[in-house]
Every structure is written in C-alpha cells, then in structure tokens.
Amino acid sequence: MSSARNTDHTVALSPTASDAANRAAHTERTVHHVRIEEDLLTVRHAVRAATLRAGFSIVDQTRVVTAASELARNAYIHGGGGTVTIDQLTLRGNAGLRLTVKDDGPGIADTDAALADGFTTGAGLGHGLGGARRLMNDFELHTVPGQGTTVIATRWAGR
C-alpha cells in the first residue's frame, strides 16, 4: 500500500483559502495538545468558546465544533496524537475561525479515498475527513506518508 513517493499530497479545496486567511488579521491564537482522550473534550470546549467569541450562529457553532471533533479524533486515533490550533480571524469585518490540526502519524497514503464517504480504518463511520470538509468553508489537507498529516479548515460567520 505504501509507495516510495515522498511527495506532499496536498488537497486544497479552495485555492484562495490560504491567501484569504493570510491577509486576515489574527486576533487570537490558542494551541491545544491532543494526547489523551480527555483532550478531545478540551478541544471541543475551546472551539465552542471561540465560535461564541466570533459571534457564530448556533448552526455554525455546531458545524465547527463537530468538524473539530472529527479532525481531533482523527489526529488522536490515526496520528497518535497531535495539536489543534485555533485562530480567530477577521477579514473585512467578517469573523472567521481557522482550525489547524496537525499530527506526526503515518500520514495518509490515498487522500482521495480518505476523503470519500464510507472510508474508515478506525472506530468512526468513515465520514470524518470528508464530513469535516463539508462543514467548513475552506479545507486543505497536507500529508506526507511517514511524516504526518495537517488539516487547515476555516469557517466564516454567515457564509
């Protein structure tokens, strides 16, 4: 299954996502470690608090916290732990929240398969990665087999 290739499998669903996020002003950044299962709760609480500070609607709050739960669980189960960085952004007066979920696990050999519904190697339903992508406005997946996985996902208020 593993290949000798060492290319950076990058899936940028919105090519302008990084540009937009880079231009946006950072108002606050917090970093949370995911080492034990209880950390998943801590991450959910932190993300929920950030969505409240950003003034997200209740549906957007639910979307972002759910996406964070999926991504953090992926990092915990498949990546052997990692970090979740929460960035509060402002772009032209619009509030946003960027989640950067990084692990140093085995990476993902087939990103297309991993993003497809029903693909699972763990304890979920196989909707985690693809589902999280649908719940967020911008979604980037960077993974190098043997060197870990980073997901950068952003949601903007009222979009």
């Binding site: 979307r63 916290v65 339903l125 589902g131």
Partner: protein, 138 residues
C-alpha cells in the same frame, strides 16, 4: 432501582420501557460503558422499548452517531425497540452535512412523542398530574 454504574448515565424503567438520556459530553469510555449497561438492563428488565433522549447533546459527531446506530442494532437483537428523541435542529443540519443519516434509528421530535409511540399516553385531565398513563396497545 437504577444503579448508574456506567459513566453516570442513569437508566430508568417505566413499565417495559427503559428511559435514558445522553449528556452533552459523551466520550469514548462513557459510550462503551453506557452500551454495556443498557444492553444488560434490556435483558434483566425484560424491556420492550428504549427511549434515548439526546436533547442535551450539543453535537453529534460520527463517533456518537455510530454509538447510537450500534445501540439500536444491539437492542433490536435483544427484542427491544429504540427511539432516539429530542435531537436539536442544528445537530440535524450538521449530521446531514456530515453525510450521516442514522440509518435504522427510529427518531421522535421529543421524549413525549417517543413515549406515545411506545404506547404511553398522557392523561388529558390536569388532575392526573400530567404523568403518563400506561395503556398497552396489545
């Protein structure tokens, strides 16, 4: 009557229906303990129905969804019918976007409607205190 040995999730019995609810933080350990406790109680109490109220759940991710689907299947194998009640509207929206339909899981808008579906009917007389009156359909 009910000894919540599992993650602090109480399981009550009303007639042949077990009534329980998930709290807003369901971690993996609690979910596993809850599954074991509930299947044991279905067997020991001879329950025909199980109401799981999820109105306090602020999010349902794929892990919780999987737990609900597995619970439903296990209960059915033991001869009991599960109704999941009280899902919050934002949770329903998010679940659909996640791509999860909770296939095979019966749902109700709230606990009252779930109990009605399982044969409990609320007394129309205020003097009844609003408590359910058990009228088995069969």
């Amino acid at each position: 009557m009910s000894a919540p040995a599992s993650g602090g999730v109480p399981i009550l019995r009303l007639g042949d229906v077990l009534v329980t609810g998930l709290l807003n933080e369901l971690d993996d350990t609690t979910a596993v303990a809850f599954t074991e406790e509930l299947t044991n109680r279905i067997s020991s109490d001879g329950a025909r129905g199980v109401l799981i109220d999820i109105s306090r759940l602020e999010i349902v991710d794929s892990f919780v969804a999987r737990t609900l689907m597995e619970l439903t299947t296990m209960a059915r194998l033991l001869g009991a019918r599960v109704i999941v009640a009280g899902m919050r509207p934002p949770v329903a929206i998010t679940l659909v976007e996640l791509g999860i339909q909770l296939t095979g899981v019966e749902t109700a808008l709230n606990a009252e409607q779930a109990m009605a579906a399982m044969g409990w009917h609320q007394s129309l007389q205020p003097s009844g205190g609003g408590l359910g009156e058990f009228r088995p359909e069969h």
